[in-house]
Subunit: 239 residues, 4 copies
DNA sequence: CATGAATGAGACTTCATTCAT
DNA sequence: AATGAATGAAGTCTCATTCAT
């Protein structure tokens, strides 16, 4: 549609890349603070101490710029999660990591961006909407994988759609974040995040477990494993 | 402040009330579709087939109009919930009603408005923010009451803050809605809503119950052993 | 020009006249307070507690209304001056009356109208300008007559254009009024007016007198008249 | 207050300064012709053959633009007067210079601006009023100084407030200007100004001198007797 | 490459005025 | 006669975007 118009080639090179990084960094701030519509190219250029025209030298327009900001932000989050997820540990531990990491990343700078995504993701007209779907998919992929594996092994319940489980985890997180923003409490974030993440997983964990396991069966299993452990302990020493 | 100028008296009659209703109805649509900034008074007037000036005859400005739209929408939701909540039935049944009602109201038209509230509620400067706080409180009041009563009677857990429980219920709902919007599947909504509401409560219900510490610990142990076994299985083959 | 458009007939009758008087009274206030452009038909109607449309039932438009307001105001002033001017007394006394009367009429309500005339009288486009010239002439006529008579009798100087003398009297009056408005001192107006009028005439009077009369000749004349008076006094008694 | 939004940095260069001068020049014309309210940014832009937006690139709004126009105009007048006032010469000569200079400056372009100041200086609300008070003071300062010095030396009368003397000089000037505008006679301005200035000072000068009480009283007596004689003459015939 | 400068398009808003009732 | 209701026309102002230098 629009792409009939000829687009000038954007600059490239080491210096150019630094420029681009700077513009993206500041744009992220501005879009996060003000949202897409209220953010202005003027503001971005001014915070950088450069001319507005320069911004347009490196990006084809406000929309593209914003799209890049959001993509980069997603990439960052996805990268941190994929790099740090303690795959060796228990599902619950991985879940806690996931929640904690997200809360931290969002609270530090991401709430505005979160709002940005939420509100711009739905624009009807010539909005940013198209950009989001694949990003959203990549973004939730680690969590979906985690849940899928846990379900295959029977560790978590299989009687409900995975997407519902995902919503039950991401939803509260977002809600908590909005609440935090609304209340402007930015004090003692670190501590709060730790505790909130632990509390939230503690709260949700029972919801994820298979509902049909009988306490009696559990006890029996517990007893048997204990006995096996004790027997092995005679040979191997305490684990 | 600057309002030395006298404002035209608003029309008030049977016809006028119909006009106001019409304008509000269409404005709700437009704001919901486009958000505050992208929505234009021109669009609203055009959809109604009236002059823009007429809109300003009934509302003092875009902001006031939007505020009214949001207030009315909240009022609607609050009204429906308060009127229909089956207080005589079990907590779980009430919760199901609450979830079902919200999903329905939001899906029918409210998602855009939801986005509106979410994104405008945080606007700096002379935004709509001030309007929202009390509305938000009234809006969550029925749920908070429900939870508080259930907690006093020992029916649900008391070891975590109520606000967390609230987030664990409202959050997933919003997330589900966003998901639905993003996917544009508006087919078979009625059936979906019924099932989704039932599923969601089924999912969350165990999370709300007081943690039977024994059972919980057992379940966790069970899960962890299973996981360890699987991990080892990768190396050793099935035992 | 504009008068090609058909004008509806205006209402007439006793009731109608009262209406017209009311509208004119309030319009005068509003125009005086706000000036032509900032005054609105809305404001006028609202202060009267009537509908805007009613104003247009009695006047063809804002412009005509304002023109009537100004005409009536001029008529008032002219009437008061013509009725009260003490023609039997000395020129100086008449001048004092003229100045005092104007200061009072303007200060009580006229300053806004004065501003109105001053600023609207000069509008290039489709302004009110045409209305003013004849009014201005009628308005200054009493003063011009007074000066003309005094000049014919040799009482005041004949070496300068009458229009200059007129400016030397009206100009300071307006300047004093502007000053008073600017300073917002509306305290003790009555007393101030009295004194200011006396002072101003005292100041200007020497300027009006013929400059060439020799003090010596005056003294001689004085002596002769005095002698004549004394002689007559012997027959007639003290005057 | 609401100025959270960042304002575009104003251009600043040689070209920019020329632009600013052009805009100010034309704006002065337009405001002078039409007054603040009737003047439009559209008109200003059109006369310059530029886009309206360009005007707003250099000035933050109509009000600021108008304020600048008036300030510049005051500065011009003040500058010319202060630079040219022949302080070495007689008080009367200085007064003549002052009057002549003002008449010239005002007649050439200033009458509209004079009206602007007069009518906008009194606007309620967030008008231009605040700008004027200090300007007005600087503007009248040279005249006030001149009068004060002359009074100290006993050259002019001390029995009336200085402000009255000032009004007696500035007032007629303004009145003469209004008159000139109203009559649209812009022919032979130079010659007219010279003569009018000389005449006006000739007229007012006696008013400023200390009242030689004897002479003044005599003149008054003379005038009154003459008047009485004339009046009686109407009845009695010439004596 | 960077930018100063300009602008088209469009937003919200006001208000005198008309007309059917 | 009075008015409720509607509106055309116009005004101020913003901002993403372009282009010559």
């Amino acid at each position: 549609m629009d792409d009939i118009t000829v687009r000038r080639r954007l600059p490239a090179g080491a210096k150019a890349e630094q420029r681009i990084r700077d513009i993206l960094r500041v744009s992220r701030e501005v879009f996060a603070e003000l949202g897409y519509e209220r953010a202005t190219t003027t503001e971005i250029a001014q915070r950088l101490g450069i001319s507005e025209a320069t911004v347009f030298t490196y990006f084809h327009g406000k929309r593209e710029l914003c799209a890049r900001v959001i993509e980069d932000w997603y990439d960052e989050i996805i990268g941190v999660v994929e790099a740090g997820l303690p795959r060796g540990q228990s599902t619950k531990a991985q879940l806690e990591f996931y929640v904690r990491t997200h809360l931290r990343l969002f609270l530090i700078q991401g709430t505005g961006l979160c709002a940005l995504v939420l509100s711009e993701g739905r624009a009807k007209g010539p909005g940013l909407g198209e950009v989001f779907v694949p990003l959203q998919r990549r973004y939730t992929a680690p969590l979906m994988d985690l849940l899928a594996r846990a379900r295959e092994s029977g560790e978590i319940r299989a009687d409900l759609p995975l997407s519902l489980l995902r919503s039950a985890i991401l939803g509260p997180m977002e809600h908590i974040l909005w609440d935090a923003i609304a209340r402007q409490r930015e004090v003692d974030i670190e501590r709060d995040i730790e505790r909130t993440a632990r509390d939230l997983v503690a709260l949700l964990w029972p919801a994820l477990l298979p509902p049909d396991l009988d306490t009696a069966a559990l006890r029996e299993f517990y007893g048997e494993v204990g006995a096996a452990l004790r027997r092995a302990g005679g040979t191997l020493g305490q684990p």
